[in-house]
Subunit: 200 residues, 2 copies
């Protein structure tokens, strides 16, 4: 059934199938055959479009990071002249959207996270994303407190976000996004209240 212009379609199908396979059996057992079966195509097509399994995995991680960045950016749109608290809240809520914080994406994200410890290319992607979150947080905190305090607050909030989300990925019931958001926002307010000279 060859039709022209299949490339973008197949790429999306295979990326989605990769997440589905990882969600189902984990990264270690997500073979090219299983991924291909999920997408309804043959195994050979993966090497054709992604150069090999590694290329597909990298593309999948890149997709997840892009979606996450978009979710945060969308919530910050139109907040240009708002206070830091509004921006920080948007960052938190964007991170707990994470395209779909429940289901395949969350498990795939955690699997890549662990895998990035020993795969330089994945580590690079993960680090770029990480620094973006940190410097975004830091820049907003910086508006109401000294740099050193801002750095500390950013590190604390970033760790809390990751921790909440990580625990959500592991509990059988999935992440309770509502209560996670509440915990992060409450901690945010306490981090801000220490320097409550100019609230916004």
């Amino acid at each position: 059934m060859p039709k022209v212009g299949m490339e973008p379609i197949r790429r999306q199908q295979l990326i989605a199938a990769t997440m589905a396979a990882i969600d189902e059996v984990g990264l270690a057992d997500a073979t090219v055959m299983r991924i291909a079966r999920h997408a309804g195509v043959s195994a050979g097509i993966i090497s054709h479009y992604f150069g090999g399994k590694d290329g597909l995995l990298e593309a999948t991680m890149r997709q997840i990071l892009t979606d996450l960045g978009d979710a945060v950016a969308a919530r910050r749109r139109g907040l240009a002249n708002h206070g830091p608290r509004a921006h920080l809240q948007a960052i938190i809520e964007g991170n707990f959207d994470r395209s779909q914080v429940t289901g395949p994406v969350a498990k795939t994200w955690l699997a890549f996270w662990a895998s990035s410890m020993h795969k330089p290319e994945l580590a690079r992607l993960q680090q770029v994303n990480d620094r973006r979150l940190y410097s975004n947080l830091c820049a907003q905190f910086r508006r109401v407190m000294p740099q050193q305090d801002a750095r500390y607050a950013a590190r604390t909030l970033a760790a809390l976000i990751d921790g909440l989300w990580l625990r959500g990925a592991l509990t059988p019931e999935g992440l309770d996004a509502e209560s996670a958001r509440r915990a992060a926002l409450a901690t945010l307010d306490q981090l801000l209240s220490t320097h409550s000279t100019s609230a916004a």
Copy 2:
């Protein structure tokens, strides 16, 4: 060089070698041969003492959890009639000791964490450990605040601990245990100060 009573020695050697191998190349590439080479023995010995590779991995995770539990318990010893703040501080510091929060143990722990998403036996171990941390935290918070608030505080602090520790495992420089401890203790004080009727 067979000597009697090698079993406990070999088991310890192989568990240590497993962590070293996972630290070096990751769980996915930690083959029985590589682990055996680290321990200076042949590959066949793993099946002999642990029944197979899975048995060794499970024993390794169990060891890490035991060490973690011991580190916390040791710091809480003799705190029987102290206030909740002392117990919570001991729990935090025990978790940032983690036998050796830096090096092989940290990476191995994270690798197992991710792997437990799809291996029921590892998931069981991880869950037992998780519930222990949570209920310990909850019991102490419960002494100075209503149950619902205590549960919220316990979940927040547990997530922060995991998040700090997780980020430490991923940064190339390793976890800055000192600054992580400071962040967790500061958050602890803020969680307690909301209900600062009876400080101890």
